[in-house]
């Protein structure tokens, strides 16, 4: 039977079954394998070099050593916090000092990238990032308050940071709410809250008398993985698994949200409920990374941007791409932060900023207009 478009009815008849895995294509696999390759290279560098040099081959041999890999006592130590069994120095350096830092970079990168992808879809703005909804200012303020006012509670710093980020986000939402929210009001409310909190932060800095403390607070608010250990990995892992799974389950909602709230609503979506729930997932992911690494800029902004260019705007593909590209950027940046000026270390946030800024400059020059999703 001929069709008005000139095609023949049976020429193309996809079934539901053939469509199910149609979303994994060469572009996405490229991001997955490319990202994994970068992480592997960065891991090799991170495991081998430092004050205790190991050859890359030995580093991998140590990492794949069955005596550790199959040792339940070791895994109990890593994942549950039990005492680490007696290993050779090289093994201890690789397994308890260098590996957790790499794992942390991977988790932080994945969290920030996915968080950014969600927030860019919700605000329909490519320039949104995990920190645009006030998370960074809230977390930063919480950190300073802990250091200056409640110094007895320093061990709970990451927790307070995450709570501060979450509270700031709720405040932003409350300010933006007028019988409903809109992407523009959310972003504006984020800017307002950030600037007010930023002023308070700066004021608090002046109250700290110990210069060493000021330095460590600055390192923290720039984002740093120095001292990242298995305890941090343990702290982050459950929240990461939770928020990233929720994000992937929400992929279709994100797709429909990018069609605009009116269309989404005509299609039967409860736009406000879905938007709030997904923002919550994004804030959870960002807060987990803030708790572990401080405020690492640009990853949540740049990674979704690059991945969207490679795999398109379908969120299932975009989020999966971010799960590999985010860790790649973060692991590579941290390798640079730790090894470039060795023995001195710079906060990884400085490296991501140095990479991310010029990338945006390049985009601005090359494509006169960007920002709208």
């Amino acid at each position: 039977m001929p069709r008005p478009d000139g095609g023949v009815e049976d020429a193309y008849e996809p079934s539901a079954a053939t469509r199910r895995f149609g979303w994994v294509d060469r572009d996405l696999l490229g991001v997955v394998f490319g990202g994994s390759a970068v992480v592997l290279v960065a891991t090799t560098l991170q495991l081998s070099f430092g004050s205790y040099d190991i050859t890359p081959v030995d580093a991998w041999r140590t990492l794949l050593n069955p005596a550790v890999l199959l040792d339940t006592a070791a895994w109990r130590a890593f994942l549950l916090g039990a005492t680490v069994p007696d290993f050779a120095t090289g093994t201890l350096v690789v397994w308890t000092i260098r590996l957790p830092r790499v794992l942390l970079a991977v988790l932080v990168g994945a969290n920030l990238a996915v968080s950014g992808a969600i927030l860019q879809a919700i605000t329909r703005n490519e320039l949104a990032s995990p920190f645009v909804l006030g998370v960074s200012s809230g977390a930063g303020l919480a950190v300073l308050l802990t250091v200056v006012v409640f110094s007895g509670l320093l061990p709970f710093l990451p927790l307070f940071a995450a709570v501060g980020g979450g509270l700031a986000f709720l405040l932003v939402y409350a300010i933006a709410w007028q019988g409903g929210t809109s992407p523009v009001r959310l972003v504006l409310a984020g800017v307002i809250v950030s600037s007010v909190f930023g002023s308070v932060q700066t004021g608090l800095f002046l109250l700290i008398e110990d210069i060493g403390l000021v330095r460590s607070v600055i390192a923290w608010t720039t984002g740093s993985l120095v001292g990242g250990d298995w305890a941090a990995v343990r702290m982050m892992l459950p929240w990461t698994v939770l928020s990233l799974s929720l994000a992937l389950l929400g992929a279709r909602e994100l797709d429909v949200l990018t069609l605009g709230e009116r269309t989404a609503s005509s299609l039967g979506m409860r736009v406000e409920t879905v938007r709030f729930a997904l923002s919550g997932v994004a804030v959870l992911a960002a807060a987990a990374s803030v708790a572990a690494a401080g405020i690492v800029g640009f990853v949540g902004l740049v990674v979704p941007h690059i991945v969207r260019r490679l795999v398109g705007s379908d969120h299932r593909r975009l989020l999966v791409g971010c799960l590999f590209a985010g860790p790649a950027l973060m692991a590579a940046a941290d390798a640079g932060a730790r090894l470039a000026l060795s023995p001195a270390q710079v906060p990884v946030g400085i490296v991501t900023g140095l990479v991310g800024g010029p990338y945006f400059l390049y985009l601005m020059r090359k494509h006169g207009e960007f920002g709208g999703l």
Binding site: G179, L259, L267, M269
Partner: protein, 262 residues
């Protein structure tokens, strides 16, 4: 059987607006027919359409879909039966025509359900009806304005609603695409018995394609009926402020505007 849409004593206003845009109107939309909403700019056509779709909550009055109040239906439940295509929707440029059409299946799919054969059938039918099957893998950003509008129409058709509301589906399109849009809507009505309400800017186009016309003036229904009875020189003068001759043609009444009424 086709679905019937009834609005009774509907009052529609926007928050912060000085007075209601629609103030206590009752309208019955004929089931299985194409009804055109016409009226001058600012007469409340789009507002009425949004009220009929429960996208704007009425201050008073209610809208009944086959006798059930639409604001009591669940959002997805309503979206399975009633679709609204807004005037100029936007989507990411990289989205392909086929994926856009699949988004029309949103209310039919459980939150975590994969695509099933019903979805594939509905999307294929919608793409073919809108005449965009050959564009299925093209990103929206590469298409002309007319092709893009047809792609959105395919999304609304894939939603497979019993009542389809369209806000100015032909405005700003070239002649060829205007005809393609109207042809798709007529075929949908004939094949599926869908009740269609559309806002049209062009009175003559409305007269040609619509089975019924509703003429809105300043938020009130001025006339409602088939094009022959509605389109009179008196209505055109009173509502649109033009002096015009109405001739009967093979495709319904033809309007020849002569001059603005002083």
């Amino acid at each position: 059987m086709s679905s019937k849409l009834d609005a009774t004593d509907l009052v529609l206003e926007y928050p912060g607006g000085e007075r209601p845009v629609i103030d206590g109107e009752s309208v019955t939309v004929a089931p299985g027919r194409v009804t055109a909403l016409v009226g001058p700019n600012g007469s409340g056509k789009s507002t009425l359409l949004r009220g009929l779709a429960d996208q704007l909550t009425p201050t008073a009055g209610e809208v009944l879909l086959d006798g059930r109040a639409i604001h009591r239906l669940g959002d997805r439940e309503l979206a399975r039966e009633l679709g609204l295509l807004e005037q100029e929707p936007t989507a990411p440029d990289g989205l392909t025509v086929e994926r856009l059409a699949y988004h029309g299946r949103y209310p039919h799919r459980g939150r975590f359900d994969p695509v099933d054969d019903d979805d594939v059938r509905a999307v294929e039918r919608a793409l073919s009806l809108a005449g965009v099957s050959h564009l299925r893998d093209r990103p929206l950003g590469d298409l002309s304005g007319g092709q893009r509008r047809l792609a959105w129409l395919a999304m609304a058709l894939a939603q497979d609603p019993d009542v389809l509301l369209l806000d100015e589906p032909t405005t700003f399109l070239d002649l060829r695409h205007q005809l393609a849009v109207m042809a798709a809507i007529e075929r949908r009505r004939d094949e599926a018995g869908t009740t269609v309400v559309l806002v049209l800017h062009d009175v003559e186009q409305a007269a040609r394609y619509a089975d019924e016309m509703i003429v809105l003036a300043d938020g009130t229904v001025h006339a409602h009926g088939d094009p022959e009875t509605v389109l009179t020189p008196e209505v055109l003068a009173a509502v649109f402020g033009v002096e015009a001759r109405v001739e009967s043609g093979t495709h319904g009444p033809r309007v020849v505007p002569l001059r603005p009424v002083n």
